[in-house]
């Protein structure tokens, strides 16, 4: 297979905007001030005003700016260019229709503090999406307020904390242990910590599942507030003992939190509420295809059982006849987690996604996503070690075990994939697999491209045996090579200053 370049680079050296700035260039025009002017000293006295004339802020024309960003954009890989198999990130197609409807002026120009009677469409949209997510998760209480997955997690564990306080009163203070599997996302323990819990780690079995014995042991130690579980787990395997896991936690008085990062394996097939899960967050930017945007914005709805619903963040949207309103009077609520109502623009996109797929399409997408992952597994398991035997769901994990003997590690395989025209998979996560490569193709990849990916991986496996240096030196086709991250962290340069160029000269 011939190597193709990832992206065209019309210019390799688009400087920072500060380095392109020329005094006197302008990139905007405002209408003339149409009110009679007041002396500025009368409005705001000089000692409260800035007097630096915004020194250092760039001066560029509109053309400069359009070229600047368009050129920089060509240095990025993206879903629209091809398969982006980042495991646990669900890099699926972002529909243009969703972008279009989110920009309808009646949504985009609506102020969050406009009267409720003048915002009925937005409130209804929130309500309708809540209803759909309740049906999809089997959990009837929904808040769309959290801004991202980790924010939804924090919301979820705070709900658990308040529910325990109510259930056990003073005794609740003795229940501050949150169980988190060793395969969990780092956000899980970090969120548990923000809710004042101490984290205890549960071991995984050699099948990549929760170790039931260890779980019971930890429960016997006492003080358990709950469990934060990703299902399918971060190695892509469904927790076959999920009912038993939930029962075990419930028996000791705790609650089960499910990380919904991997819901793309389950929509229309199986519901967390039916498994015994008490509270979950969803990532609308994963499962429901709102764009990842180079790292956000997300939207991390929190869904929970009827019992826990009163603890959801306030306000919530309620319906009375044909009228929608905000309910601020929620004495049980954990409180507000974000100003206003959440990332509304993402809710519009997610609802459009649900409507476009509909009942049959949502399941079809899940099937196609799992099928793609299983197909990749079947085609790659001879060439790469697969640490866990059970059938994977929507993502599959491999390790570098077969390649590392030749000095080729996961990082090298990932970088070499770039030369073959693909974005690398998630690497070195979860932490329980040495040299983990977590691959999630999603449903948005056709067979031809899956086969191309398989060919690339097989080719790299061959190179690792025959010409390991080629892989270790990758990527060979990008604008820049591997960057010295250690020095970057030791001597952090986090902003432009006029002498930045001189540092570059010194380094080269």
């Amino acid at each position: 297979m011939s190597i193709k370049k990832v992206t065209p680079h019309p210019t390799q050296n688009e400087a920072l905007i500060f380095e392109r700035s020329h005094p006197g260039r302008v990139g905007y025009k405002l209408p003339k001030l149409d009110v009679e002017e007041t002396g500025i000293d009368e409005i705001i006295p000089a000692h409260l005003r800035r007097d630096d004339d915004l020194d250092g802020v760039p001066e560029v024309s509109e053309v400069d700016l359009v070229r600047h960003f368009t050129r920089m954009s060509t240095w990025n890989y993206s879903i629209d260019l091809g398969m982006y198999p980042l495991g646990s990130c669900t890099m699926k197609y972002n529909s243009r229709l969703n972008e279009k409807v989110a920009r309808i002026p009646g949504f985009a120009n609506l102020h969050p503090l406009a009267p409720e009677s003048e915002s009925q469409g937005a409130l209804k949209l929130i309500y309708d999406l809540q209803e759909d997510l309740a049906e999809i998760t089997g959990l009837p209480g929904v808040s769309l307020q959290p801004a991202a997955g980790a924010h939804g997690e924090m919301t979820g564990v705070m709900i658990i904390r308040d529910a325990l306080d109510e259930r056990f009163g003073e005794e609740s203070k003795e229940r501050r242990v949150m169980l988190v599997p060793d395969s969990a996302h780092g956000t899980n323990p970090a969120s548990a910590n923000m809710a004042g819990f101490t984290v205890k780690t549960i071991r995984s079995t050699d099948e990549g599942l929760t170790d039931m014995e260890h779980l019971r042991e930890l429960c016997d130690e006492g003080g358990v507030a709950g469990l934060m579980l990703t299902n399918p787990s971060t190695v892509g395997v469904f927790e076959k003992n999920i009912r038993e896991i939930c029962d075990t936690i419930h028996e000791v008085g705790g609650f089960v939190y499910m990380d919904g990062a991997n819901m793309n394996a389950l929509v229309g097939v199986s519901r967390p509420g039916d498994m015994g899960v008490d509270v979950i967050h969803l990532n609308l930017h994963k499962t429901f295809s709102t764009p990842h945007g180079g790292g956000g914005p997300g939207c991390g709805p929190c869904c929970c059982t009827e019992e826990l619903a009163k603890f959801l963040p306030k306000p919530t949207v309620v319906k009375d006849g044909d009228t929608y309103s905000l309910d601020h009077d929620r004495p049980g609520s954990i409180g507000r987690v974000k100003a206003f109502f959440g990332n509304f623009g993402m809710m519009v996109r997610a609802l459009a996604y649900i409507q476009t797929h509909g009942d049959t399409g949502l399941r079809e997408a899940t099937e196609a996503a799992v099928l793609n992952a299983r197909y990749l597994t079947a085609r790659l398991e001879e060439d790469f070690e697969r640490p866990f035997a059970p059938d994977p769901m929507h993502e599959v994990i491999f390790s570098h075990k077969k390649q590392s003997r030749k000095g080729v590690h996961t990082l090298d395989i990932a970088k070499r994939l770039i030369d073959y025209g693909f974005h690398p998979m998630t690497i070195y996560f979860p932490l329980i697999v040495d040299g983990a490569m977590l691959i999630e193709p999603t449903e948005s990849v056709g067979r031809q491209e899956l086969d191309d990916f398989v060919d690339a991986m097989k080719s790299i496996a061959r190179e690792a045996q025959e010409d390991p240096e080629l892989v270790i030196g990758a990527p060979h086709t990008t604008r820049i090579g591997r960057l010295d991250e250690a020095t970057a962290a030791r001597k952090p340069v986090l902003r432009w200053t006029p002498d930045l160029g001189k540092q570059a000269d010194a380094a080269s």
């Binding site: 302008v26 001066e59 985009a108 102020h111 801004a147 705070m158 974000k338 997408a365 020095t487 080269s508």
Partner: protein
Amino acid sequence: MRYIPNSPEERDDMLKEIGLESAEGLFRSIPADVLLGRKLDVTEPLAEPEVIAGMEALAEMNSGAKKTSFLGGGVYSHFSPTIVDNLIQRSEFFTSYTPYQPEVTQGTLQYIFEFQTLVCQLTGMEVANASMYDGSTSMAEAFLMAQRVTRRDKVLVAETVHPEYIEVASTYTKHGELEFDTVGFDADSGRIQESDLEKIDEKTAALVVQSPNFFGCIEDLEALAEKAHEKGALLVVVVTEAISFGLLKTPGNCGADIVVAEGQSFGVPMSFGGPHVGLFACRQKFVRQMPGRLSGVAYDEKGNRGFVLTLATREQHIRRDKATSNICTNQGLIALAATIYMEALGRKGLQEVAMQNAQKAAYAKKQIAGIDGYKIAFDSPVFNEFVVRGPSEAVSLLESISSENGILGGIAISRYYKNRPNDFLVCVTETNTKKEIDSLAEALASAG
């Protein structure tokens, strides 16, 4: 389903190749008692024109989006150059993710670096991160950071900080042994009550103040910094109207230690409250206690300059429960919009737009102050928002000018401060024409 490349026939072939009869086989690792076994009770699939029609109909019900508006209070109507929304729709920006692989994400890493620099320049601070969810969560994170930096457990927050921000911060901090006290405001000036600053003591981690504050009044940050620093506390400055950076003395110059702001004003649609973007900046010496991502300069073997995510040992994916924050996904694309806005307006435009806001608000203030029965509630200098005290209850007064005159005249202060029934917050930006301002004044005159 048009978003799935493989046809049903191709999928059947693939199933056979992996030894399965049907799609059901894909889910055999799921115990039967947790399989749904029925269709989801959501709509049947809608065609593109049907989705659009449905969404248009919902949008149509938002009459508030079409009216002349003087609403502010943390979300502002500003002009956004056409290129902002156009450029963020480049596939390479909006369909990429967190720049974990720097060789194929330099576009994202470089604009984040530019964003960080611009935030530093506007706030007068030394270091800024790659963005937070919004202003409110940025402030909550600043509380936690101040606690870490000072190892003190009390925060004093001004009552004139956006009330929803205070609500968010109290949710974030309620399990972290952080004591929370408030500083009142002077009834005439609308600024911090100086006598309340005596509450700052050796246990105080930070004094938190918004400027311009929720009432629009500009605080004397230099004096407040001095008071906080005297007791070894930090000054945390909150800004909800980022356009004010173009005109007001920077918090950094006034002695602030942490600055958090809502960046929505920089070219981002109001969108019923989100997605917006949180700005977070601080002194260099605190950088290792910061939440969130940072893009920094790095060089490859040949000496080529590039950018990488750096100082990641602060973050959850490395430090887990000891991380400075649980934040992972932030507001990347909105930070890009804000970056393009700041660069398009540039050195001159950021000053001009700020000046227009101040001038138009000053004009509106004069017009309204001249109406019988109305007065300006506070006498401090303001940027583009001010509180008006009307002759009757603000809620019904505002309802009446909305239905009679088609104007959203402001936010009733009683929404947040129960003992101020007649007060309402008016915001005037560069998007409000003289004609609109005059209509507001006329409407208030006839409603009063």
